[in-house]
């Protein structure tokens, strides 16, 4: 642990054992920093509850196919625009068809053109349209779950890729120093110089035209890998810079010298000596990056530079609901609530994790 300071070195485990033996008790067992952190985390009920909420959201979204096959019976892409729901024995069209209808007394009734969806049914129609339909007659509940699956998948995968690359770059830069440090630091500076959202939409839009077909990598235009890669890329300096600083501070410590004296090569020092010492920060930063990656995915998809229709994501769902906001606010409200719950639970858990592991880790991202 990076927190091992000089005060703890004076009071070693041996003296602790001696003192305990003098007092006549059993020797005190040494506890690793991870065990201590775990104990601190277990006492933080708010953080644990947040982790439970996040895991619950993930599990529920993973069960999206079950929801379709057992509850809603309506797929994620195909709507049912000419369908009806039955309520109190009356047939109600899922989309108001619009046009002219004639009343019995002969007067004409003009209604707005088609595509005005039904509202939430709350189980009145036997599982279908529990949360209503969107303007294409698609089940909002189904899309909410599949959208969540896409959003969470992109957020988690992007954060994982970003963390992996940031760790490698930070280790390379700080361990070797010199030219490799200069190049990697300038690379961080370069990405840092772009506003996150603008670089995201620039890459997302450029990639959404033809996909990516360079260096033997082929990604089709509508693939979920595009927003994933874009988000992973734009967040690299936000993780890489603080990690590089930490490795730099560890680089000249005695344990690295000791490893060098033992004949350890660069790879072994980087991955078995330095990496475990920044692992706690990595864990905290990863949690916060997941939260930010989800918010960025929502922003990009809302603007049309992330997940491409007809695939759902919480961001595209907010965007699709925007046009009918005044008549059908629930279309935008529901995905927003889902995002807020997910991101809030991650942020609270990340805070608790930081308090338990490494109070000094910080991550800050502008949107």
């Amino acid at each position: 642990m990076a927190t091992t300071g000089t005060t703890q070195e004076e009071f070693t485990l041996d003296t602790a054992a001696e003192l305990a033996a003098e007092a006549g008790g059993s020797p005190i067992e040494g506890k690793s920093p991870w065990v201590l952190a775990g104990r601190r985390l277990r006492r933080n009920y708010v953080a644990l509850a947040s982790l439970a909420v996040f895991l619950l959201v993930v599990i529920v979204c993973m069960c999206a196919p079950l929801y379709v096959s057992h509850v809603s019976h309506i797929g994620v892409i195909d709507g049912n625009p000419s369908g009806f729901v039955h309520e109190n024995g009356k047939k109600i069209p899922i989309l108001a068809q619009g046009g002219v209808t004639f009343n019995k007394n002969g007067s004409a009734n003009l209604t707005a053109g088609g595509g005005i969806p039904i509202g939430p049914q709350w189980g009145a129609s036997g599982g279908a349209y529990i949360f209503g339909a969107d303007e294409l007659g698609r089940d909002v509940g189904t899309r909410l779950l599949y959208g969540g699956r896409n959003t969470l998948q992109i957020g988690l995968t992007a954060a994982a890729i970003c963390t992996l690359f940031s760790i490698i770059l930070a280790l390379l830069a700080a361990y070797f120093g010199g030219a490799s440090d200069w190049i990697i630091s300038r690379f961080f500076d370069l990405i840092w110089a772009f506003p996150v959202v603008l670089l995201g939409i620039a890459l997302g839009t450029a990639l959404s035209i033809n996909g990516f077909h360079h260096w033997g990598i082929n990604i089709a235009a509508g693939s979920l890998w595009i927003p994933t890669a874009v988000i992973a890329f734009v967040f690299i300096p936000y993780l890489g810079r603080p990690l590089r600083g930490q490795v730099l501070a560890l680089r000249n410590r005695e344990f690295v010298e000791a490893a060098t004296a033992q004949g350890a090569g660069p790879l072994r020092i980087m991955f078995t000596e330095l990496l475990p010492n920044i692992a706690s920060s990595v864990l905290v930063l990863f949690t916060l990056i997941v939260a930010n990656a989800i918010l960025t995915e929502v922003g990009l998809s809302f603007l049309g530079a992330g997940v491409q229709p007809p695939h759902p994501s919480w961001g595209t769902m907010i965007a699709e609901g925007q046009d009918v906001l005044s008549s059908d606010p629930w279309l935008s409200v529901l995905p927003g609530i889902a995002i807020a719950i997910t991101v809030l639970s991650l942020n609270v858990f990340g805070d608790g994790l930081r308090d338990a592991l490494d109070p000094r880790a910080k991550v800050r991202i502008e949107h």
């Binding site: 370069l190 772009f194 603008l198 939409i201 620039a202 049309g304 906001l325 927003g336 800050r364 502008e366």
Partner: protein, 317 residues
């Protein structure tokens, strides 16, 4: 000082060149070589495509293409693929709306951020601190697009009331009262995220500063706790906020407020970029991206200078 400024300006130019090259790679290399085919449309003849290629300079090597792109941007000749409008003049048209949004929101987020951070640090550990921390966490967890839409629905579209106008921008010069009224919801939408963020950063800065020696000295001199807080603790704690603010303000000015502008249909720089995304029109995005990066690069230099001025311990080298 002069040597520092010269070096920073030189560095700024290099970063801007690198930024423009990355922008060039994103917009010319990633979509592949058929830019001309896309512009010419589905019924294009090979001659059509060839002439467009020649016009856009797509036959040259990448250095020439990159140079042409920068030259077009600097001289203001870059035009949209989609409708041929001039990108630079469109961005200029968007600046009043974007600046109105960002300056107003910045005033709100600085004021409330400092207020919230100070209160929660002074009452650290007590109920008001916890309540503020919880609100700040909620603030940074809300998606901006959603928050904006909800505010629009509740306060402008009759969810609760219709007293606010439903989006749109009125220039300050034509009707200041309407300008203010139109900007109020967007200002708060943009500010909420930053209020939570700044409050949390300031709180931890203040709690770190309170234990410093100079604060003990001030207390030993017999200053009141109010004087200590405002003149000594807050002054030292606000210095890191200057850095944050400089970069955040640059990012929103440079088009980072795109989501807020889109939700409230403010015809600013961000909204211009949003329209370009819908049409997959690359030159406007290219212009806005470079414009945004230029703001960040310039502001980060200004921040360094301000930092040295505010904190006598830091020397510019």
């Amino acid at each position: 000082m002069v040597a520092f400024l010269i070096r920073r300006v030189f560095g700024m130019i290099i970063v801007l060149l690198a930024v423009s090259f990355l922008t060039y790679l994103i917009f010319f290399k990633i979509p592949g070589g058929d830019v001309a085919g896309r512009i010419a449309g589905k019924t294009a003849t090979p001659q059509n495509i060839a002439s467009i290629k020649a016009k856009l300079g797509l036959n040259h090597n990448f250095v020439v293409q990159w140079y042409d792109m920068v030259k077009q941007l600097v001289t203001g000749n870059l035009v949209s693929y989609y409708d041929g409008t001039n990108v630079v003049s469109q961005i200029k048209q968007g600046i009043p709306a974007t600046f109105s949004l960002c300056i107003g929101a910045a005033v709100i987020w600085l004021f409330f951020g400092i207020l919230v951070g100070t209160i929660s640090a002074v009452y650290a550990g007590r109920f008001s601190d916890r309540a503020i921390t919880a609100l700040a966490l909620i603030g940074i967890s809300l998606p901006v697009a959603w928050l904006g839409l909800i505010l629009r629905y509740v306060f402008a579209e009759g969810g609760l009331t219709t007293i606010f106008p439903d989006g749109g921008y009125v220039p300050l010069t034509s009707d200041p009262a309407q300008w203010f009224w139109h900007m109020l919801l967007p200002w708060f939408t943009l500010a909420v995220l930053f209020i939570g963020c700044y409050g949390r950063v300031l709180r931890s800065n203040i709690l770190g500063t309170i234990n410093e020696d100079f604060v003990r000295t001030a207390r030993a001199k017999g200053l009141s706790s109010r004087q200590i807080l405002v003149k000594h603790v807050l002054r030292a704690s606000l210095i890191p906020i200057v850095t944050l603010f400089g970069l955040d303000f640059a990012a929103v000015l440079g088009g980072g407020a795109i989501i807020t502008e889109t939700v409230f249909v403010l015809h600013g720089v961000g909204y211009y970029a949003y329209q370009a995304i819908q049409k997959q029109d690359l030159p406007p995005l290219m212009g806005v991206t470079l414009y945004g990066a230029a703001f960040i690069v310039v502001f980060s230099t200004l921040v360094d200078v301000a930092y040295a001025y505010l904190d006598p311990r830091i020397r510019l080298t």
